[in-house]
């Protein structure tokens, strides 16, 4: 029998106390929600005129969900349930849906589903819709958050009418944020394209010449088209010239951005390739072992990420940071195991090692199939890696690609430090340059071999963590990357870390540059053939090993 003391119950008391403290706050929120709900309910039997005033009062409550409700009303997604006359927003009111997903108007949380014929739509007419659009826009334009204001202007410039132009003019005077002003300028210039005065149109076109959004581009190209009679839609010669010039400038800017984007895609693909190949090049450089199981070590790293995420489902954001060392240890241990049990019997027989490690790769694949089934496993991308960094309308970079590039550089930096600044690194370089001499000087070459293989395998595991963010985690993950990794190693020069980095990056960029012209598959074939031809000129890769080590290999 356990004696329960006060001390053991202490956390519970604290919790209760906190609950009591929080109660008034919760009650406050409760009343605000109730007021809001009461106004929302008035939509139920109001006519079109009354709905306008209901909408205005809804905004006056200052409730955070007011805009969502009005937007839903505008988009015909606002309903009352027949059985209890409760208002709901639906996620999508597509006619093909057999059931609508309901959302509570106040909390904006999911509230079950309902069949479409159990719901009554709150109907709108043209006048009400115009009113709503302006009201929502005005509300959004006066939001304290500049991002909301930018979005509102962007929304408005898709369908400009007299009222919204008026609204934007008013806002332009008091707006202090530069990016909001910029968008308002765009919208007003677009509106000015309809002016009667030719010079005003020319001025508007000149303003638009550095805007990259597709709306501006489409609008400007429209100016240069002819109607059915063969007359230009834009009558003014100067305006047409200005428009031609503006389009030329926009095209040039877009080209520059698309080149930067392609280069960046290439770099991120190249980082993946380099990361996948670096382990191979280390093991081959030091111990002359071609490890065909390398792809499966990548796969193990990716599965480690999956397992780590399973173990900490509530901390997905940090799971990747835990997975990196975990994958390094797991695959590194597997690597040392492979080296000690198989590869050490086969040194000096590279072709046989090729076969034995291929056998290992089959074992690992089947092992993963037995444990995790043959289906792909889901790996979640942490929130800090998803999303995009938007520079402007024509150019944005995704965070996960940026993280991969950064991650690759960090791994390379650490690896270089290990090889150049630590005792193990020194011994590895000694063994790779002259094994016999190193042994004569007291280096335990067997131990160095095992460490090298473990290091190469561990880095493969780390690369696997990165891959788990980009591709499907399944038993075939390794095979998809092994041929590419070998190409990178052969291209960059075996055993050369810088060669691998530069080789990976150049193959990545070449791949991405070819893709738009030749398609993904044909582009890849071109790269393969190009590398085969390249090997003709430089049989030992971009950066061949020099000195005595090269002669013996």
């Amino acid at each position: 029998m356990r004696v329960v003391t006060y001390g053991e119950w202490q956390p519970l008391w604290l919790l209760l106390a906190v609950c009591f403290l929080l109660l008034p706050v919760a009650a406050n929120a409760q009343t605000a929600d109730d007021d809001f709900r009461a106004v929302v309910a008035e939509f139920g039997d109001a006519n079109f005129r009354e709905k306008e005033s209901v909408a205005e009062r809804l905004l006056e409550t200052g409730h955070a969900s007011a805009r969502a409700v009005l937007t839903a009303l505008l988009e015909d997604r606002f309903f009352f349930r027949q059985q209890d006359q409760q208002p709901f927003i639906v996620e999508s009111s597509d006619e093909n849906l057999s059931s609508f997903a309901l959302i509570d108007p106040a909390s904006l949380e999911a509230a079950g589903t309902s069949e479409p014929d159990q719901l009554d739509r709150v109907i709108t007419n043209n006048r009400l819709r115009r009113f709503l659009r302006i009201t929502i826009a005005r509300f959004a334009l006066s939001s304290p958050d500049a991002d909301v204001r930018v979005d509102a202007v962007k929304q408005m410039l898709r369908s400009l009418d007299a009222a919204s132009i008026e609204l934007l003019r008013e806002r332009a005077i008091e707006e202090t944020n530069s990016s909001v002003s910029y968008e308002i300028d765009t919208a007003l210039a677009l509106a000015a394209l309809d002016e009667d005065e030719g010079s005003a149109r020319v001025a508007a076109i000149n303003t638009l010449a550095d805007r990259l959004s597709p709306e501006v581009y489409n609008r400007l190209s429209l100016l240069l088209e002819r109607d059915e009679d063969g007359n230009f839609i834009e009558g003014n010669e100067d305006a047409r010239l200005a428009a031609t010039e503006a389009i030329r400038r926009i095209d040039a800017a877009r080209n520059v951005y698309s080149i930067i984007e392609t280069a960046f895609f290439g770099l991120s693909l190249g980082s993946v390739l380099a990361l996948a190949a670096i382990g191979l090049t280390i093991t081959f450089g030091v111990s002359g072992v071609i490890n065909l199981a390398h792809g499966e070590l990548l796969m193990l790293g990716a599965y480690t990420t999956y397992v780590v995420q399973l173990a900490m489902p509530n901390h997905i954001d940090v799971s990747i940071l835990v997975a990196i060392p975990a994958a390094f240890l797991v695959t590194g241990a597997v690597g040392v195991l492979i080296e000690r049990s198989i590869i050490r019997f086969l040194y000096g027989r590279p072709l046989e090692t090729l076969l034995a490690t291929f056998g290992v790769s089959l074992l690992l694949q089947q092992f993963v199939r037995s444990v995790f089934t043959a289906n792909n496993r889901p790996v979640v991308t942490p929130s800090w890696m998803s999303g995009t960094l938007q520079f402007n309308e024509a150019f944005s970079l995704t965070y996960n690609r940026m993280s991969i590039v950064l991650f690759t550089l960090i791994v390379f930096a650490i690896l270089l430090l290990v090889l150049k600044r630590t005792r193990v690194g020194l011994e590895m370089r000694a063994v790779s340059q002259n094994r016999l001499m190193a042994r004569a000087l007291g280096v335990r070459s067997e131990w160095v071999d095992a460490m090298t293989f473990g290091l190469g395998a561990g880095i493969a595991g780390v690369a696997g963590v990165a891959l788990s963010q980009l591709t499907n985690v399944g038993p075939n993950l390794g095979q998809a990357y092994i041929v590419d990794s070998f190409l990178v190693v052969v291209f960059g020069g075996v055993g050369n870390i810088w060669g691998t980095l530069i080789g990976g990056m150049s193959l990545g960029i070449v791949n991405k540059v070819l893709e738009p012209f030749a398609g993904a598959v044909l582009g890849k074939i071109f790269v393969l053939v190009a590398v085969i031809l390249f090997i003709q000129r430089r049989p030992r890769g971009l950066f061949p090993q020099t000195g005595r080590a090269a002669e013996s290999s």
Binding site: I290, L351, G359, R369, F486, V490
Partner: protein, 366 residues
């Protein structure tokens, strides 16, 4: 070493070769009789399935012999021989597709079904001529030969050797795999060719045709085995072996190492192509998965299991490993990859000379 200068008498002096050829003759004679002449009720009757299986193994044996010729005797580990095999298969597959004629699903007199399906209205230029058997037969040899010549010429001339050559050949195989997967290539994409009807007017499904194909395959295996023996037994064969053992020294002695390697590689590729051409009518399908790099690596393991540098060992290894595969994939599907992996590791570590090395005394092994 008793290998004489005249190659032909050697064929009959060598006990292992005699045994191998006698066994092959036996199979070619007995299997068709057991299948066609012995009634189905008899316990000695062999089903058509087994006949097809044996035929398939014999095709693999030809492929393995081809790989052994260059790997076992010249030290070139090629990881693209399955690709040559598949190219030969595709060449004969094109002929078989043209033979279907109006019996296809869409009943188009000229275009194969998949082209009608892809809305093509004319035959691509590289399909011309494949309605003639002799042309297809020529292509079976010429296409792999041409590819091997170009690739080998590029590789050997710039002295790409050892592991580098293996990886580059694997990349070549991978490039072909990607290319044949494309629908635009005009080779049926993903699905490849299947639904063949007849070969030279003989129904491919009939027992007679199957047995005849088996006999032809066995004869081809015997012929290619004999050819390989002649090559390795000749003066050129000695040069080839010395290239394997000391390439630089052979070059310094004045031999043109590149041309020896190149012609051996081309010959071996042709053998692989012929094996593929025999394989496709018996199996009834050819698709891009035959180009997968793993297929080529599997061939190497057959050779390693049987014993490299023995030729008959390679053929025996191919049959043995594939029999094991047929058995295991049916009885214990999840065990097959474990078994294959274990064979890879076990053979390389414990049986570097393969099974043939078990009963051949070391002095006899080249």
């Amino acid at each position: 070493m008793k290998i004489g200068r005249q190659a032909l008498p050697l064929l009959f002096k060598d006990r292992a070769s005699c045994g191998f050829l006698a066994l092959l003759t036996g199979v070619a004679l007995v299997v068709p009789i057991l299948n066609v002449a012995v009634p189905e009720s008899s316990p000695l009757h062999l089903s058509s399935y087994v006949v097809g299986l044996i035929g398939k193994y014999l095709c693999y044996a030809i492929l393995a012999t081809a790989v052994d010729l260059i790997w076992g005797f010249c030290g070139i580990l090629s990881l693209c021989h399955a690709a040559f095999f598949a190219l030969g298969g595709y060449a004969i597959g094109m002929y078989l597709m043209r033979q279907i004629g109006t019996r296809g699903v869409y009943g188009h007199p000229v275009l194969p079904d998949f082209m009608v399906f892809l809305n093509w209205d004319a035959l691509p230029w590289f399909w011309y001529g494949f309605d003639r058997f002799w042309f297809a037969l020529a292509m079976v040899a010429l296409v792999p030969a041409a590819l091997a010549f170009v690739f080998g010429w590029l590789a050997f001339r710039s002295r790409v050797t050892g592991v580098y050559f293996s990886i580059m050949s694997q990349a070549l195989s991978y490039a072909l795999l990607l290319a044949f997967f494309r629908n635009d290539m005009g080779f049926g994409g993903n699905n490849g060719f299947t639904d063949f009807k007849d070969l030279l007017g003989f129904d491919l499904q009939s027992d007679g045709t199957r047995s005849a194909l088996l006999v032809v395959t066995a004869a081809t295996l015997a012929a290619s085995y004999g050819a390989c023996r002649m090559i390795v037994g000749s003066r050129a064969g000695r040069v080839i072996r010395s290239i394997r053992d000391a390439e630089s020294r052979t070059r310094f002695l004045g031999y043109s190492v590149e041309s020896y390697k190149l012609w051996l590689f081309v010959f071996s590729a042709v053998m692989a192509g012929v094996a593929g051409a025999l394989y496709v009518p018996q199996v009834g399908i050819i698709n891009p998965s035959e180009f997968e790099p793993i297929k080529s690596i599997e061939v190497v393991i057959w050779v390693a299991v049987g014993g490299r540098g023995t030729l008959f060992g390679a053929a025996a290894g191919a049959i043995l490993v594939n029999y094991l595969k047929t058995y295991l994939t049916a009885a214990f599907p999840e065990l097959w990859l474990y078994a294959l992996g274990a064979i890879f590791i076990g053979v390389t570590i414990f049986l570097p000379r393969g099974l043939a090395g078990l009963w051949r005394s070391p002095s006899q092994v080249e």
